[in-house]
């Protein structure tokens, strides 16, 4: 692989320095957006959003980020159906072709956990926008940016990951958190939807991050004591479409892990509730809005996607952060 190619494929590649650099750049960019001052100008650059699975929210925030930097975008939001993969072409061939066009980055959402392997065939930087049962590294960056903005630090956090623990955002966030110091991740979800052993061992063996998974149902009593202690609750959607458990079990999981105002009520004032969205009304009480309680941070979190992806695109294009770290 060309060492100059700045692929963004896994949160495991994110050092503390990298994450801080992106966060600092994003903060500068967000300020410039609000104050309508000058932003880096990447006119002449072209990216493609090449999505084997649809994901409007992620695609739009990447495209907005690119346009705000002056870059052009070639959208492809249904690559699986529309590309030659449907005619029997291998993913490898698709990447050999696409990765040889004059492009400055390919933002790729895959339906398989294959982006690391495929990126080897590309002469263009690949940015993962989520891959199969794997990772969603840019979601982790915007989650960390949100925690940093809302709580003020990325060390010494107690983070409760709650719901479908096999989701990409949970995996990538927990990995990214482990690049910082003295964080504790607590995994609370159905027994059959726990994070896989390999990733848990990564935390223990490679990162020395404290991890707890004591809370599988029926543990409602135990769990109740948690809300008072955590800094961050990270809710996730139950991904029925992955069919890991039966429809009936998903319905039970939604009921067991429903997030309601009384749980929020136990939380500390400085704590925040994040959710990668979309959420469903039978997973999260629809009364929980930012107007209802400022600790509900998920829409602010979603909006942070644009400056964070601007910062990341700038880094992929230039190899530099937009500004020296702010702290």
């Amino acid at each position: 692989m060309n060492p100059k190619l700045r692929h963004v494929l896994s949160a495991r590649d994110f050092t503390r320095e990298f994450i801080e650099g992106i966060i600092a750049s994003a903060a500068v960019m967000e300020k410039a957006l609000v104050e309508k001052t000058v932003l880096p100008n990447h006119a002449g650059r072209v990216i493609s959003t090449f999505f084997f699975e649809r994901s409007t929210r992620t695609r739009i925030s990447f495209e907005d980020a690119a346009h705000l930097l002056g870059a052009q975008v070639i959208p492809c939001e249904n690559a699986k159906e529309s590309s030659s993969v449907g005619k029997g072409e291998s993913y490898e061939d698709t990447f050999r072709v696409l990765g040889g066009y004059p492009l400055d980055a390919i933002i790729c959402r895959s339906d398989k956990s294959n982006l690391g392997e495929l990126a080897r065939f590309s002469q263009v930087p690949i940015i993962s926008a989520g891959d199969g049962g794997g990772e969603h590294p840019t979601q982790a960056l915007l989650d960390l940016y949100t925690i940093w903005k809302e709580i003020g630090r990325l060390d010494e956090l107690c983070v409760l990951l709650h719901g479908d623990l096999q989701s990409r955002p949970v995996r990538s966030l927990a990995i990214a958190l482990s690049s910082f110091e003295r964080n504790m991740s607590i995994f609370v979800g159905p027994e059959k939807l726990q994070l896989e052993k390999e990733t848990m061992e990564f935390f223990f063996l490679s990162r020395r991050m404290e991890v707890r998974t004591p809370f599988v149902p029926p543990v409602l009593d135990l769990r109740l004591k948690l809300w008072e202690e955590v800094d961050v609750v990270y809710l996730t959607r139950f991904q029925d479409e992955r069919k890991v458990i039966s429809p009936e079990e998903y319905a039970v999981a939604r009921r067991d892990f429903f997030f309601s105002p009384d749980k929020l009520g136990k939380m500390q004032k400085h704590a925040r509730v994040l959710h990668p969205l979309p959420k469903r009304d039978d997973e999260v009480d629809p009364a929980l809005t930012p107007e209802f309680d400022h600790r509900i941070a998920w829409f602010r979190q979603a909006h942070n996607g644009v400056p964070v992806r601007m910062a990341l695109l700038h880094w992929v294009f230039t190899g530099e952060f937009y500004n020296p770290p702010l702290w």
Copy 2:
């Protein structure tokens, strides 16, 4: 709602002054397009065309308008399937997220009559590109622009609305016409496809516009006398997909309200036939083209969509018309 937000949601919000301002701007823009002279430069602005229902014609004319002004576009032409709504997300959440991104306008086609309600959650101006069984306000603007260009006035018009009267273009055009003086709208269509009572009462009670709905089948004899008197015939497509009547009744309606050369033949020389398109060969005689008879204005009408939407985008971006009214 932020009072500075210039949403465009209903023809009911269009004052005479607003419509005249848009028409004057569109005329200046159209002239600049033809003569390849300077246009307003909105480089740096980004809009999204966010369509819950596909509508290629409307989407392309909005995107062309945006690009001709130098703005960038994030297309999403199949938002229902591709967005998180398919994963159980509420429309409200979709608008809270999208409406918090750094965008200069969201052009939204909805499959429900809900844009007024949803716009409350957006910090970005929402421009309706048609909503459910509701309105299509920008279609009304280009229809009025077409009538103004072709006939020279927007007052004292006799307008025959013909076909499926529950269509959005009919509703929005009739409402927009009622902002001018001494116009008469005549609704000719199947008894089960008449405009709803609430809108008809709006004309009587709020706008003092003269409205006639005497012509339901079998009234072919009566109807024949009409063609000689009208200034504008506004044909519409029978929208089978809405399933208001049975397939057999749609077939009968198409036959009863077929627009043929002999009807055109009775019309005055200055009169014009408009159609929001698409049209079908079993609704309108395919021999009727602009080359066949200059009174066939529907392709010129469609082409007016671009300068009118340029004028509207400019107003949404700046709060100003592009030029003082021409008359």
Copy 3:
């Protein structure tokens, strides 16, 4: 038809001078892309990629080409489903509307061989991106550019066209080759998938190109002698979706016309294997990559699509080649 309109609809319209002009322009553009030097600036121009059939590869290379020249793009990759054609609109009406918008070119992929007819209704240049069972003229341009780059000449070539001979790329390439001198095309494919008589007669009667079609199965012995002589082998995908033969016959054809390393082994050192892609593993041995053997040129061929389409767009926009011919 407006004589100034530079439609690109058929390889039959390509003179030797035109092809050489495009190739020379593409070479200059490719050099500028690699060296990151100046390219023609078509800021302010807007094109639409209007595809009645999906074709991600072709669409993306056209959009990349447009963006690299500074032009803007309105994508429509699923026009059949999303446009009004689905509501019963005629293709003619679609082209009358689209072809009257302020656009600088419409890149159209059609599912019918109707682009020549439809272009008459457009005031905007139409560039075919493949039409039904007809042609794919821009594929022919990039194929010739590839042959010119890889072999150094476009005259006196022996070209073996191999596989599904009714495919658009085969037809357009053979026609384009006939504009040059002393080329021989050899068609090797299943008896039921031979190029139609009308095109073969065109070669004999209008172009004096030597054409041979002696090789239908079972002729494996004869065919074996070919590989040593040819300059170019042009493989094609068997297009099951066209259903010209039965699924069983397609399976047999794939086996009979499988391209394997031993066939490549017989070829001359300067010879090249092209393929318009996508290819399938049961048509072409997956071991055949450019790393395996430099004569495998199909990925370089695909990548040539961008500079060639840049050269073509520049010509459509301006009527001029970007540079005087290089030779």
